[in-house]
Amino acid sequence: QAQELKVGLSSSPVAIDPHFFNNDAISALCSHLYEPLIAIDAEGKLLPTLAVSWRAINDTTWEFKLRKGVRFHDGNEFTAEDVVFSLDRPASIANSPSSFTTYTKAIVAKKIVDPYTIQFVTATPAPLLPNDLTRIFIVSRKAADKASTDDFNQGRIEAGSGPFKLVKFSKGENLQLARFDAYWGVKPAWATVTLKFLPNDPARMAALLSGDVQLIENVQANLVAQFKANKDLSVFEKMSNRFMFLYTDHRDRSPFVTDKAGKPLDTNPLKDVRVRQAISKLIDRQTLTDKVLDKLGVPNANPAPPGMFGHNPRLKPEPLDIAGARKLLVEAGYPDGFGITLFGPSDRFINDEQVVQAIGQMLSKGGIATKVQTQPMASYIPKASKKELGFGLLGWGVGGGEPSSPLRGVLATTDKDRGLGASNWSSYSSAKYDAVLIEALRTVDDQKREKLFQDAAEIAINQDYAIIPLYNQVATWAARKGIRYTPRPDEATLAQYARPE
């Protein structure tokens, strides 16, 4: 039995309070210590965890059956009261930079039927509640009552039920864990685990090569081939559910759109669907994923990747078609093309800077003189969300097992009251699409809802080219020989998924 595992993570999470900050890296970290009612498995499907089953009693009531015999790290047994406490807790956290109430606010009442049965009542139909609840970790009420985020971070309380107990959390450095021997499920293979925070890519790679850590996430793209060839290492890959696309400005005038000489244009060519289609046709997705991403991408035109609930097989990656693109540009009235600036982040996605430049190359060769600008997320996101950029690269991790979040956030017409289109940087607006989506969001029946999701995606992407889909990232892990990691589409690195061979 192997004893110790050291892992190099590419992020440096700031908390291990599971309800403080809704952030993928923190959630992945917390998954070692805490469990939700329903988890996501390695195939991206819902996995009964602290709940053993759930069903919709009617349009607005869900009932969950809870697992019996689960003990928290502090020795208390898990019951419905802990669920109520854990669902209430996010709203009580004052300083959250990103609150979990997004997932809990649909619930207007919680009914404890018996210690192992609980019902949730929602105001409107909430078909996605089980998916939302994958995001909420359950903590022991007895342990966590009145506990602050700091208490969690300092390890003063033991409120989790996960496979590992906290030993020490050193912000900016590492998280040390020990196996929880009374865990109800499959016990992890490691007595102790240290998750080291190594955001600097070369440093993380070097740490693996020098044996400082045995497992790392996010292998540097250009090293994947080399790592695969290295007999001391094994590489694990999985198509991630991070969907990459270009948002295109649908407004009448767009910043950074010029004629070839650099003079601002009065009309926005991107408004014309033929231009958007032409752009899509100019992009050689295969070269992009093969060369620029070192195969860490799979061309994809669908927010829900194959295998995911809501995947639409009719949405296919646009093949490269320069002649077709030219034709479309001529039809749209831009026989000589035009000038545009393509924006992108420089520190967020796999090879993001290179991807943006490569797309710039491809568009330029197709007659659209493209300038490229990349910047750190810190300035990119605020500018993009103020719609100051117009045309840029974005990625969306489609979590929770179905594609509602991008469909709702990126493509729906911006509507504050309904909470739609919060990230619609394209300013795309289609009544037809909105109608289908809204219908989907309140359809509890799974089959019907899946069909509606597929239709919505088809309208926005296949017909309107509202965004230009590119590819899905491939998530990678590399380990020293002798360790196997089961890769996950949500890119999370979980020590319990690593096993000695």
Binding site: P202, L209, Q226, K291, Q361, S379
Partner: protein
Amino acid sequence: MKILLDAFSPSWVERCALLVLIALLLGALAAPLISPQNPYDLAQLSLSDGRLPPGSAASAGQGVQRYWLGSDDQGRDMLSAILYGLRISLLVGLSSTLLALAFGLSLGLMAGYFGGRLDSLIMRLADIQLSFPAILIALILLAVLGQGVGKIVTALFAVQWAYYARTTRSAALVERRKDYIEAARLLGLSTPRILFRHLLPNCLPPLIVVAALQVAAAISLEATLSFLGIGLPITEPSLGLLIANGFQYLLAGNYWISFFPGIALVLLIVAINLVADRLRDIINPRLQKQ
């Protein structure tokens, strides 16, 4: 005593440094003429030529026959990228230094010559600026200003001017007390004339050395900031940015993407430092008396 002699019989190292510096300067100046490719024109690049090792023949790229120093991930000719990068690095280093020199010099001269309130005001400002390490100020300024050549020049200017103001002031204080300034005043010459014709030329020599060293420091600082990801945009990379970008390929064995720009940067900075050092020896007042 030994230095005294050395200064007059330059060693081969310094002579080499001078030659290297001149070569680099010429290369940077003539970059658009001599480099096989315009690395900033995306249309000239070819992804299929990405990451070719030095000496590879080009398959599709325009203008380039052979990537003598290899190519980067975008199929950019490294030689061209280095020449252009050199240009940007030098542009940033020189222009920020010159701006700061001109500004700091004027303030320092006035502070030193007039003294009093003006002096206190300027010097307190400079003190405040100098009480904070350059990299921090640049870091925060750049975080505020965003990326771009103009912005980094501004940031580097902001961290340098006080240095010159200070140096000039102390030189001006020394010179001002010298009798020739008093003689000029007694001869009824106007203040601007005294400042610029008498004081300035005599305060300049130490500043030139400082400035030469500062150019190197500014280039290095720019490279560092770019490395930290807050200097220049990726599309017009300076040497520092080329290094930073290429570094991830080092482990993969594509050493040339980072290594050659690194060598160029190190050569440039070492050459500037050596030449400036020698310059210092040459205009060292102690040696001048002879």
